[in-house]
Amino acid sequence: MATAEERWRRLVEDLAQADAPDVVKEARAGARGRVRTALEDALVDELMRAVRGPNAAGTADRAEPVPTEPPEDLGDAHWVYCVVPAERAPELAAGLSGVESASPVVAVVEGELAALLSRVPLSQYGDEQLRRHLEDIAWLERTARAHEAVQEGAMRNGPLVPLRMCTIYRELAGVRRMLRDRAELFAENLAAVEDCAEWGVKVFVDLRRIPASSPAEPEPTNSSGADYLAGRQRERDRVSEADELCLRCAEEVHQAVSVMARQDRVNPVQRAEAHGRDAEMVLNEAYLLQDSRIEELRSTVEELAERWAPDGLLVELTGPWPPYNFVSESAGLIS
């Protein structure tokens, strides 16, 4: 008489026996698929190198002289912009041009995910060159804008996880491995930003424009030390009043916008050299907002801007941005 436990084990064994052939078949098919993709990628990379290389068979056979290729032509690498859900990837990539305008953006699909990337010449994007480029503000501006523009183009049709600029792979296989190894992380991030975009809200103040609480007294014509000190005191009072006003404005703005947002993040204020205004930045927030609330956000910020303008405070909205502030390398994401 078999015990319940024995019967149970036999049942599982039978099931396993029955399923094994199918599983093996599927695994073989899966493995073949994966190997084929890896081979295809490697072949594409190799072919590109062969076509471009100065000693490529095709060019060497030709009678005409080989056009002077720069000797440092090392082939291409892959500049990755963002990770998106696989099913929408081809449509997202369509029509976008990358950091090198001649190279279109393409989607590389791996499982449920896809990376949007474009080719860049290693002669310009290798270790040394890249480091030099990063010190060149014109290059940096052009490339940063291009990197961001690709994401902006892609985010119109669905969620994306933006990668920091200068994420470069030599081989497509490396991109696929990255997608596989971090599949869970990307899936979590994609879910967190689904149907959302990032918006920036900043508050600026021009201290000269803060209305003085008491009318400014005319400067005495022959000023004494006491007059000078009194002037300094008035100036100090005015500044601390301004501080208080800024704080109130920043708090009110943040309160009003954060209740609409799914997440928010305080960023360090930018210095005047950075934002280029003749005013001081007092608030620099990023909000993750559902697309259905955009109109609400716009009208709220507009209202706040109008209300605070007479006090010399400027409330500014930017966006929609790729959700840079709301993706994370840790599984816990941002609280």
Binding site: E141, L163, R164, M165, T167, E329
Partner: protein, 130 residues
């Protein structure tokens, strides 16, 4: 930059000028806003090109004092990517001190009935040399 320079000493007019339509998502974005994101945020993965993550970190710190655009940088004569001295907090303090000294000088000049601006100009030149 749309904001331009604000006219000093005309608070009434300046306030009026400030009541302009909300610049929400129109026109090219401020470079500072973009760099703040593409260099400092987003998922960071070390790809195959070993652009040292440290290099980018350093750059990011530099960008804390970055300029609004290339034109503006040239206009201001700023080579922030060359001199690291400006990164130290000491430099900021110096700048602050310099400014308050300049203000004081202006006041003293005024009090002494000297033609205003001489000392200020000199201070600015020195500032530029730094």
């Amino acid at each position: 930059m749309s904001s331009g320079d604000l006219p000093a000493g005309a608070p009434g007019r300046a306030l009026e000028a400030q009541r302009r339509p909300l610049p929400a998502s129109s026109g090219p974005s401020n470079l500072a806003d973009i760099l703040e994101r593409v260099l400092d945020k987003g998922i960071v993965i070390a790809g195959d090109i070993q652009i040292n993550l440290l290099d980018i970190e350093l750059l990011t710190i530099k960008l804390r004092l970055l300029v609004a655009s290339v034109d503006r940088a040239r206009e201001m004569g700023i080579n922030w990517w060359e001199g690291d001295a400006s990164l130290s907090s000491g430099a900021k303090q110096l700048e602050e001190e310099n400014r308050s000294l300049r203000e004081r000088l202006d006041r003293l000049e005024q009090a002494a009935g000297l033609p205003a601006g001489n000392g200020n100009r000199e201070a600015k030149e020195q500032d530029g040399d730094r």
